[in-house]
């Protein structure tokens, strides 16, 4: 009984530890992982190159002024195996960008996922369940 409980605790713990993060290369300590921001953005540029994809987009503030943001995404290799291509986002596209903001308050974020106006989503650093065991 005790060993079963230990196994369960270990299993629960393993879910917290699991998996290699996709931003391992540059780390994630710049981002406040305790916060999630959700922004309605207009795409300015997508740099779909290794080691990290960089998305530049604008968000309108209360006065209607376009504020420029940048979002870090995993490498094109990882994204292209999850439904992305370099033409996924084109300048002018409207998309909701959800992610963890920079700790220092700069307009930068680690993009966790994108939600398109028709409701479909594309993953950023959040790995969707796949066939990996």
């Amino acid at each position: 009984m005790k060993s079963e409980r230990i196994t369960r605790v270990a299993l629960a713990f393993s879910f917290l530890l699991a998996s290699i993060p996709l931003w391992a290369h540059h780390g994630a300590s710049e981002y406040d992982m305790t916060k999630i921001v959700s922004l309605s953005g207009t795409v300015k540029e997508l740099q779909f190159v290794n080691p990290h994809t960089l998305l530049t987009f604008t968000v309108k503030d209360e006065s209607g002024k376009a504020i420029e943001w940048e979002g870090e995404l995993p490498s094109p290799n990882l994204l292209s195996r999850r439904g992305w291509s370099r033409s996924t986002l084109k300048p002018g596209d409207q998309v909701t960008i959800i992610g963890a903001p920079a700790k220092n308050g700069e307009k930068g974020m680690q993009v966790k996922k994108l939600v398109f106006p028709d409701g479909h989503e594309l993953p950023g650093t959040v790995l969707p369940p796949d066939s990996s065991k």
């Binding site: 993060p21 391992a24 921001v37 870090e72 909701t96 920079a102 308050g105």
Partner: protein, 411 residues
């Protein structure tokens, strides 16, 4: 005629005279009657009988030789069949942790690695990313696009391909296009070789397990993402095997008497990805541009990140939701999500194989039906409400970035 067999038995062959004649006639392609009369003469018959004895002996010898040869060939092909097949494109399993879980030789978990004084000194000088160190001020060789070395290469979330050719197994890593040649032709490590980033590897097959022995590393790489050092004395033994057709297990044992007082062990799991191929990955592509971005978001500032999500009331989702959770490993299990009026949310998975209770605080519903929450272990919930407010889908985002997906409805 007597023939001594390999088992030591003597076999007696009696060849009757008529059979001799028949044999001669058959071998000449003639009926016995068609043999010329002089050939039926007993003296000539005796000559032919001797000839047949000689031919029989030569044939017997040939048969024995060829059966011995065939036995040897069979043995050789059995030996060839004893090599395993590890070929394919392999992707890190979602059970792999970002950093290695190190154990001692007996498999006991090590919270701190047994560093020698030399190792401790080196470890102090290594500043992995995390805490006060970002990609800008960390001295992790990975951040400089330098080769990660072994076993650090296994901490990268990219596939690797194993190719087996005559005398070699080749590990071709997508991350950085690094290559390890594992020589399986029986050679030893070169003597007094110049140390290299990925080391020198030899391998031998033990059944279907490839046992890889590696030395000759330089000391410029780290063992892991935590910055554990190693010296040029690093010696790694990896046992690579298919646990099943789709699963590659790599058991790693290493010793480095200059840096560690005892042996270290860890393990990695890879999943076969049929149809995948290794893509190009050049680390350098955007470094200049990306470093500008790193400087921007990594610069020390006193500002607090702006709460860009409009905090809305979580009132609309209060109650018990039921549905399924799809774990990162692909399993779907029944789950329940209860939201209270005090902006708490409890996600429970009660299954014989998994026990998960995640207590989210500060649950908020923002514009567009975006639901957010956070546990004390920094597990994020990011959900989306349907327009009628009765369906909720979302991601459970672990600190490592792994996502479990939930799909819930409110009865």
């Amino acid at each position: 005629m007597r023939v001594l067999t390999s088992s030591g038995k003597t076999l007696h062959f009696v060849i009757p005279r008529h059979a001799v004649r028949r044999g001669i006639s058959l071998s000449l392609g003639l009926n016995y009657r068609e043999i010329p009369r002089f050939a039926r003469n007993d003296k000539i018959d005796y000559f032919f009988r001797n000839l047949l004895w000689t031919v029989s002996l030569v044939c017997a010898a040939l048969i024995m030789f060829s059966s011995a040869l065939s036995a040897q060939t069979q043995k050789g092909s059995q030996k060839a069949a004893a090599t395993g097949d590890l070929t394919g494109v392999w992707y890190p399993s979602s059970v792999n942790t970002f950093n290695f879980i190190w154990t001692d030789a007996q498999g006991q978990h090590l919270n701190a690695l047994p560093l020698t004084p030399w190792g401790q000194e080196k470890f102090k000088g290594n500043h992995p990313i995390g805490g006060e160190y970002t990609a800008l001020n960390s001295n992790d060789p990975n951040s400089e696009c330098l080769p990660p070395g072994v076993p650090n290469i296994y901490t990268h979330a990219y596939p690797l391909e194993i190719l087996q050719v005559q005398g070699r197994a080749i590990m071709y890593f997508e991350y950085g296009h690094f290559v390890r040649q594992i020589f399986t032709d029986g050679r030893d490590h070169p003597k007094d070789a110049n140390p290299t980033w990925m080391g020198d590897s030899t391998g031998k097959w033990e059944g279907d397990t490839l046992v890889v022995d590696s030395t000759g590393f330089n000391d410029k790489t780290w063992l892991d993402v935590a910055g554990h050092p190693h010296s040029e004395a690093l010696h790694i033994v990896e046992r690579m095997r298919r646990a099943d057709h789709d699963t590659l297990m790599i058991d790693i044992t290493l010793e480095d008497p200059q840096a560690y007082t005892s042996v270290l062990k860890t393990q990695r799991k890879y999943i076969l990805k049929p149809g995948w191929n290794i893509m190009e990955y050049i680390c350098e592509d955007t470094r200049v541009k990306f470093d500008d971005f790193e400087k921007k978001v990594g610069a020390k500032g006193t500002k607090t990140a702006e709460a860009t999500v409009e905090s809305g009331s979580a009132q609309s989702i209060v109650g018990d939701w039921k549905g399924t959770i799809t774990l990162a490993d692909g399993r779907s299990l029944p789950a329940a999500f209860s939201f209270s009026e005090s902006s708490n949310g409890l996600l429970t998975v009660a299954d014989p194989s998994v026990s998960m209770n995640l207590q989210f605080r500060n649950v908020a519903v923002a514009a567009g039906g975006i639901v957010t929450g956070l546990t004390s272990d920094q597990v994020n919930f990011l959900g989306k409400l349907s327009q009628d407010g009765k369906q909720m889908t979302g991601d459970i985002i672990l600190p490592s970035g792994t996502g479990h997906k939930i799909s819930m409805s409110k009865p």
